[in-house]
């Protein structure tokens, strides 16, 4: 059917968001009808490991590489080599410093800013917030930290009661929130970096006073926003389907339709349940059939063309 071979490189395995991203890539490659084969390097590794994968993909002579970078700067050399070899390079989810690469990215700084600002407004512009970050030392985490700090600066009366790194791990986050709740320290809001449903669970289990919670658009959390009594919260979109958009962009470039700019930013949206309007929006997106770790925004308008069945089936061309 298709004529292109597309290489994919990803360095986090076993995390719902990344799995959805990979499935979106496969589904989009299949739906586009232009891709003969996907060549996926998908494992847990670091920037050096990703360089190895990229070089292996170059050896495999793919037409384009879609990469979720382990680090914006760390894989510059590999991307440069790919471009030299005539391969189209698209980075998804995060920017890269290699100028020849195209970027289609979720705006991580904006993600944090949007959620934090909404949260602080809900708190009435003052009080204590429990700040639950991602993995210490990860670049997405430090980008989000910038956005959070920006919002914090706008609300001088909001204080961080406690800052923890969840490592983007459910069990760690749950233990942390439970320990924190046990201290009895009063808080007025919780900001999470996407490990969200276990936090709501913990509040319910401990019969702790409900405070506003900000999380990501993971299926589990979105469901909780409509079903848990007394929970006020917001889900900020961080679509894993950005992977599908990356494949679309790569195919456009291969077909000679270069976009106007090198960088395309997908701006996050905020879905909250504090207003009727927001509730309606949430109701329309909630999807209990998805794994609770999967983001519900399984498609991006204008960028992805697959159906829900296709992404859930998670099958690429030739499978």
């Amino acid at each position: 059917a298709g004529k292109y071979t597309i290489g994919i490189s990803n360095t986090v395995q076993g995390n719902g968001w990344r799995e959805e991203m990979i499935c979106a890539m496969k589904a989009q490659a299949l739906a586009s009808g232009e891709v003969a084969k996907l060549n996926i390097a998908h494992r847990n590794t670091d920037a050096a490991g990703q360089l190895e994968d990229i070089r292996n993909l170059i050896s495999a002579k793919v037409d384009a590489i879609v990469v979720n970078p382990a680090d914006p700067a760390g894989i510059k050399a590999g991307l440069e080599e790919a471009t030299k070899a005539g391969i189209v390079v698209v980075a998804v989810d995060q920017a890269v410093t290699e100028p020849s690469a195209y970027i289609i990215s979720n705006n991580q700084e904006q993600y944090a800013y949007l959620g934090a600002k909404w949260l602080f407004q809900q708190m009435g512009g003052k009080g204590e917030v429990f700040y639950m970050r991602g993995a210490a030392g990860a670049s997405a985490d430090s980008d989000r930290d910038k956005g959070f700090k920006k919002a914090l600066a706008e609300f001088p009366d909001v204080k961080v009661a406690q800052e923890v790194f969840t490592g983007w791990q459910q069990d760690q986050a749950k233990q942390q929130i439970l320990s924190f709740l046990a201290t009895g320290t009063p808080i007025n809001g919780i900001w999470t970096s996407g490990i969200d449903n276990v936090i709501v669970d913990a509040l319910v289990e401990q019969q702790a006073p409900m405070v506003p919670v900000v999380g990501a658009d993971n299926a589990g959390f979105v469901g909780q926003l409509s079903s848990v009594k007394g929970l006020v919260g917001a889900a900020v979109t961080n679509p894993g389907s950005i992977g599908g958009a990356g494949v679309t962009l790569a195919l456009q470039i291969l077909d000679g339709k270069k976009p106007a700019q090198q960088t395309v930013l997908v701006e996050p949206q905020l879905w909250e349940n504090a207003t009727e309007e927001g509730k309606a929006k949430l109701k329309s997106v909630v999807d209990p059939s998805l794994s609770p770790e999967w983001p519900v925004s399984i498609s991006i308008p204008d960028w992805t063309t697959y159906t829900k069945d296709q992404i859930v089936a998670c099958k690429g061309p030739g499978e």
Partner: protein, 328 residues
């Protein structure tokens, strides 16, 4: 000709105390645990309440059971790094199969990979004599791979946490976590097994001197295979308990417990070289680690500093404990 009477030197109080603790190695561990709790209470007055105790127990229990796997395997000079994967697999399979299956069937399906991985580990270590570190590492890689393949086939079916597991994992009755209903029998069984059964004896003997065990008629592969299957089964059950506690099936659910489970067994006084140790120490080791994690969460310091402190405290605890029990 040498009748210089050697006067019994008066034993100092410190030495007597040390001797006393050395004969009861659990006491210094318990003291340490109490010290940590006191520090916590000083840092955050009021934190040590009924609710906190229940929460600590809830998180210490899965860790303690996995550390039990490590204790048993370490007694034979081995280690089981596949417990994280096994626990994750059984949890994930349970949560996804319960949607369409009868609970019993789902439970059996969930325990199946545990038995298989245990069997493969046991055969690799017991028959082919592969180093347990490598063997269990390899099977855990393979298991993770299968889990990922499996995950793709069930994305559409969604996941559900059975009410019973939820009750067991998070429920509290009269201030006691329900998980104790599972843990107390398991712990008693492990302790009795190690001290009062032939199999327990063989674990120690095999770990201490395999050739001696062989000359006494022990078939190494039988002991080792049974051991690794048992270890995997325990890990599988831990997975079910843990999913009831965390309530979010993910592909790396129990992975973060693996290294702490080794640390808990070591802090509890089990020798990583085999032949020496026991389970009661391990339980306290697991409690110490859980309290320590809370303590470090509460401390307002940069994440880097927290990790440094965690490392040094684990090292210090193990060193101090060894000092005390060594000098018998």
């Amino acid at each position: 000709m040498t009748d210089i009477a050697t006067m019994p030197r008066p034993v100092s109080f410190g030495r007597r105390l040390k001797r006393f603790m050395a004969d009861r190695p659990l006491i210094p561990l318990i003291i340490l645990l109490i010290v940590l709790v006191v520090i916590l209470q000083i840092l955050r007055p009021g934190i040590v309440n009924e609710r906190w105790l229940a929460n600590t127990a809830k998180f210490a229990i899965p860790l303690a059971i996995l550390a039990g796997c490590q204790t048993m395997t370490m007694l034979t000079g081995g280690i089981d790094l596949s417990v994280g994967t096994v626990a994750t697999m059984s949890a994930f399979i349970m949560a996804t199969q319960i949607v369409n299956q009868d609970p019993t069937v789902a439970f059996l399906l969930a325990m199946l990979p545990a038995v298989l991985i245990g069997l493969v580990n046991g055969i690799g270590v017991g028959v082919f004599r592969v180093h347990p570190l490598i063997m269990t590492l390899g099977t855990s890689l393979i298991g993770t791979g299968f889990l990922q393949v499996y995950q793709r086939t069930v994305i559409a079916s969604g996941a559900k946490i059975p009410d019973f597991l939820n009750w067991l994992g998070t429920g509290v009755t009269y201030g006691f976590p329900n998980a104790l209903l599972l843990f107390v029998p398991v712990a008693v069984l492990i302790v009795l097994m190690l001290n009062r059964t032939g199999f327990g004896r063989l674990l120690y003997a095999v770990g201490d001197n395999e050739r001696a065990a062989r000359l006494s008629g022990v078939r190494y592969w039988q002991v080792i295979t049974a051991l690794y299957i048992l270890s995997s089964l325990l890990a599988g059950i831990t997975g079910l308990l843990y999913i009831g506690l965390i309530k979010a099936p993910s592909l790396s659910l129990a992975e973060p417990l693996v290294l702490p489970s080794v640390a808990a067994a070591v802090i509890g006084g089990t020798s990583i070289f085999g032949g020496r140790g026991g389970y009661t120490g391990t339980i306290i080791g697991a409690l110490i680690l859980t309290v320590l994690t809370t303590l470090l969460t509460i401390l307002q310091m940069p994440e880097g500093g927290r990790r440094i402190l965690f490392g040094f405290i684990v090292l210090f605890v193990t060193a101090a404990y060894l000092r005390i029990i060594e000098d018998r």
